[in-house]
C-alpha cells in the first residue's frame, strides 16, 4: 500500500500559558497514512490530537520534523487534504448546494460540472432534498453532513475530521458513524478521524492510535477491522456488542484511565 501522508519526527512546541518555558504539544511523532486507511486518534483532552490534525492540514507549522504528502513537504493548507470541523464552519450566506460546491468554485471549475459533482456528494450524505435550504435551518447532524459533502466534493486524497460527531446527540451520532463509514467505503479516501469516544474509535478505525498528554505522543496503536465486519453484516449494534469488541474497549479504556491515574502530582 502506498503512503499518502507521512510524518517524520514531528514535534510542536507552544509557549506555556504562564510564560515560563514551553509546552510540547507533540513530541517526536512518526506516523504514516496509507491508501484506504481509516486512522482514528483517541486520547484525553490536551494529548495533542487536534495539534496533530492541524499540522497535517497545514494550519500549523511543526517546530521540528517534516510532513510529506506523496514525498512533497506540506507547507500550508491545500485542496488535497479536506477538513471537516467540529463545529460545522459552513458559510451561512450560502445555501446547502452553494456550500457544497464552494470549493470547486474557488478552484475555477465550470458551473455545470461543480453543480453535478456537488449533487453527487449531497446524495451520498442523503441531503438531496435539502439543496436550497439555508444552513441555519438544518439540524446539527445535517450541518455536519453538509460539511462532509463539502470536503468530499473537492476530491482530496485525505480527509481530516476533527471530532466531527462530538456535538451530536447519541442517536444521531450512531447514524452518522455509519454514514461516514459508507462515504469512506464509497470514496476510498485516507481518513484521519479524531474522537473522545472509545466505542466510536473502535467501531470506525482500521487503525487506532491512542495518544497521551504531556508531552503529546502516540503510546499505542492497534490494527482493527470492526468496520469491515459492519460492512459485511450491516449490523452496527451486533459489532459493538461482540465479545472481542468489548474486550478491546475495556483494554483501551484501562490504558486511558491508567494514564490519567498515574498523571497526578508526584
Amino acid at each position: 500500500m502506498t503512503v499518502v501522508v507521512s510524518l517524520n519526527r514531528v514535534s510542536v512546541e507552544f509557549p506555556a500559558v504562564d510564560g515560563q518555558g514551553v509546552v510540547r504539544a507533540l513530541d517526536d511523532v512518526n506516523l504514516d497514512f496509507r491508501d484506504n486507511e481509516f486512522v482514528v486518534a483517541l486520547g484525553a483532552s490536551g494529548c495533542g490530537k487536534t495539534t496533530l490534525l492541524n499540522v497535517i492540514a497545514g494550519f500549523l507549522q511543526p517546530t521540528s520534523g517534516e510532513i510529506l504528502h506523496k514525498d512533497t513537504p506540506i507547507r500550508g493548507p491545500g485542496s488535497d487534504r479536506g477538513v471537516v470541523f467540529q463545529k460545522h464552519a459552513l458559510l451561512p450566506w450560502l445555501n446547502v448546494l452553494e456550500n457544497t460546491e464552494f470549493g470547486l468554485k474557488l478552484q475555477g471549475v465550470a458551473k455545470e460540472e461543480r453543480l453535478s459533482r456537488a449533487r453527487d456528494y449531497l446524495a451520498l450524505v442523503g441531503l438531496s432534498d435539502f439543496e436550497r435550504y439555508p444552513i441555519h435551518q438544518l439540524s446539527g447532524g445535517m450541518q455536519q453532513r453538509v460539511g462532509l459533502a463539502r470536503a468530499l466534493t473537492c476530491d482530496p486524497d485525505m480527509l481530516l475530521m476533527d471530532e466531527p460527531l462530538g456535538a451530536l446527540d447519541a442517536f444521531t451520532r450512531e447514524t452518522m458513524q455509519e454514514l461516514v463509514l459508507d462515504a469512506w467505503r464509497e470514496t476510498r479516501k485516507v481518513v484521519f478521524f479524531i474522537t473522545h469516544s472509545v466505542e466510536e474509535a473502535l467501531f470506525m478505525a482500521t487503525r487506532l492510535i491512542v495518544m497521551s498528554p504531556r508531552p503529546g505522543r502516540i503510546t499505542h496503536a492497534y490494527d482493527i477491522d470492526f468496520c469491515h465486519r459492519f460492512f459485511e453484516t450491516g449490523n452496527a449494534r451486533a459489532v459493538k456488542s461482540s465479545p472481542d469488541f468489548i474486550a478491546l474497549r475495556e483494554e483501551v479504556l484501562s490504558i486511558i484511565y491508567g494514564e490519567e491515574a498515574g498523571d497526578g502530582p508526584p
Binding site: F85, L90, P134, C154
Partner: protein, 297 residues
Amino acid sequence: MMRGPFRRRGPQAVEQYGAPGSGSGTAISAVTVVVLLGGWWIVTQLELIRPLFLPAPEMVISKFARIACTDHYLERLLVAVGGLAEVEAKCHGFSDHALHEHVLWSLYRVFGAFALATATAVPIGIAMGMNRYARGVFDPPIEFYRPIPPLAYLPLTIIWFGIGESGKLFLIFLACFAPIAINARAGVRSVSIEQIHAAYSMGASHRQVLRHVVLKGALPEILTGMRVAIAFGWTTLVAAEMVAAKAGIGVMVLNAARFLATDIVFLGIIVIGAVAFVFDLIMRRVERALVPWKGKV
C-alpha cells in the same frame, strides 16, 4: 392576509419561560404614540401651556401647509392637468425656501457625507481587521477623534474649508466614518477561524478568502455600523448647518428658534425624525434581505 399590530395570529408560539422581553410590543407602542399625541392635543386645547412653549398640533400642521406650499403646488398640478387657468397661491416657504428644498439640501448633505464615509470607512475598517500595519496606522487617529463632539471641531472645519458645502460635508463625514470603520473591523474579527481554514483547505487563495469569506462574514456588522453612522449623521447635521447654510432642515430649525417660532421648530424636528425613521426602516429591510442569517448561526 391582514397586517399590522391588530392582525389575528394563528396558533400562538409557545413562550419560553423566563425569556427576557418575550411577546410582541407593537400594540403597546401604538398605544404609547396615541397617548403622547392625544396628551399633546389635550394640553394645548385646554391652554395649560402657552403656545410659545408648546404649540398646538394644528398650528404645526398649518405651518407645514404654509412652508411646504401645499396650495401653490396643488394649483400648479391643477394647471398642468388643465383644471385651472393660472397659479394664484404664492409659495413663501421659510427663509426663502419651501420645505422640500430644505429637506433636499439636508438629505444631500447627510447622504453625500454618508456615502463618502461608507466608501472609505469600509475598506479601511476591513484593512484594519486584516492587517496589523493598517490597524497600527489608523487606530490612533480614529480612536482619538471618535469621542470628540463635532461642535468642538466645527470651528476648525470653517478655518480649513471655509463656509461652503465642503466643510459641512466634512463634518458629517467625520461623524459617519468612525462607527463604520470600527464595525467593519469588528466584522472581520467575527469571522470564525474555522470558516477561514475551511476555505484554505479547499484551495482558496488569500484574495478569495478575503472576498468570499471575510467580506461576506463582516457584512452584518458593516450594516450595523452604517445604521449607527447615519444616526450620527443626522445628529451632526444641525451643527453643520449652523455655519452659513442658506437652506436645510437644520438651518430652518435654528432660524425659527431665533424668531421664537416654536411651531416651525416642532415641524423641523418632526421632519428630521420622520426621515431618519424611514431610512432606518429601509436599512432594516436591507439587512433582512442581505444578511438573513444574522443572529441565527
